[in-house]
């Protein structure tokens, strides 16, 4: 794991939680969407908060795809789940939602899960055939360090 790769994981975390918060604020402004007016959910993208949220989620998608190209799915997902802690802080201090003690304990458990998985290797499944690029990648990452 190089510094650049940790930056990509940080990008996944930040874009996802800030994007979700903006979407939440926007959808509260839009109001409840009825099952009878499902077209409203498509029109919701006109709202500025929803639009900015979508932009951040695109940033999330790009960094997420990059991370998945060199790490396991079961590594990337928990490694970036520190975003829930950030999301809870945003929900409490910016969206003024009530965050109970029980929810705080839940956030703590999730954080502990993150700690567990990030101590392990990022990639466990190697294709049956040896990859011709492997040596090249290793020398490239050695240079970065």
């Amino acid at each position: 794991m190089t510094f650049r790769k940790y930056l990509v994981l940080a990008g996944v975390t930040l874009c996802a939680s800030i994007g979700d918060s903006l979407l939440s604020r926007g959808m509260k402004q839009v109001g409840n969407i009825s099952l009878n007016h499902l077209s409203d959910v498509i029109l919701a993208v006109i709202n500025p908060s929803v639009a900015l949220g979508i932009l951040l989620l695109l940033g999330f998608f790009a960094s997420y795809m990059t991370a998945l190209s060199w790490a396991d799915l079961t590594y990337v997902l928990p490694a970036t789940s520190l975003g829930y802690v950030l999301l809870t802080l945003i929900a409490k201090f910016y969206l003024h939602e009530t965050v109970t003690t029980t929810r705080w304990i839940g956030i703590l458990l999730i954080s502990a899960g993150v700690g567990f998985v990030t101590q392990g290797p990022a990639l466990t499944h190697h294709p049956a055939k040896p990859q011709p690029h492997d040596a090249e990648y290793e020398s490239a990452s050695a240079r970065e360090q």
Binding site: S24, M65, S69, D72, T74, S81, K92, F116
Partner: protein, 126 residues
């Protein structure tokens, strides 16, 4: 009734995004290390390789379904319930799906993480 809508949306998000995550992860493993490929052959080659991958396209369809379920859910429930509950449950279903479909070695460390996150989800919803 609002609660039922919120949990219905969570179920839809979990199903769609697990399918999407598995497909996207498979696609990106087929493409290979994006950073190395970019330095070697440029951004255009990377984008072409990703956009032409059928698993990627199917994954995007599944993720779009998950995204609209999320928008729908957020209009009914708190972001601090819907977003972590769906994403963390997805993490647990992903651990199972990644083992079966992606042949990732999900060791005790990763299962432990799955159990902790699952516990966290229960508490978030309480």
């Amino acid at each position: 009734m609002k609660q039922a809508y919120a949990w219905g949306a969570i179920a839809a998000i979990v199903l769609a995004s697990t399918t999407g995550d598995v497909l996207l992860s498979r696609a990106m493993k087929q493409v290979g290390d994006v950073g190395a490929l970019w330095r070697q052959s440029g951004l255009w080659t990377v984008l072409k390789a990703i956009l032409r991958n059928p698993n990627f396209l199917l994954g995007v369809v599944a993720m779009t379904t998950a995204f609209y379920s999320l928008l729908f859910g957020l209009s009914w429930g708190d972001v601090s319930l819907i977003a972590p509950a769906s994403a963390s449950l997805t993490f647990v279903t992903n651990a199972v799906a990644a083992r079966i479909f992606l042949h990732e070695r999900v060791d005790h460390r990763r299962w432990m993480a799955a159990v902790l996150v699952a516990g966290g989800v229960v508490l978030l919803a309480a």
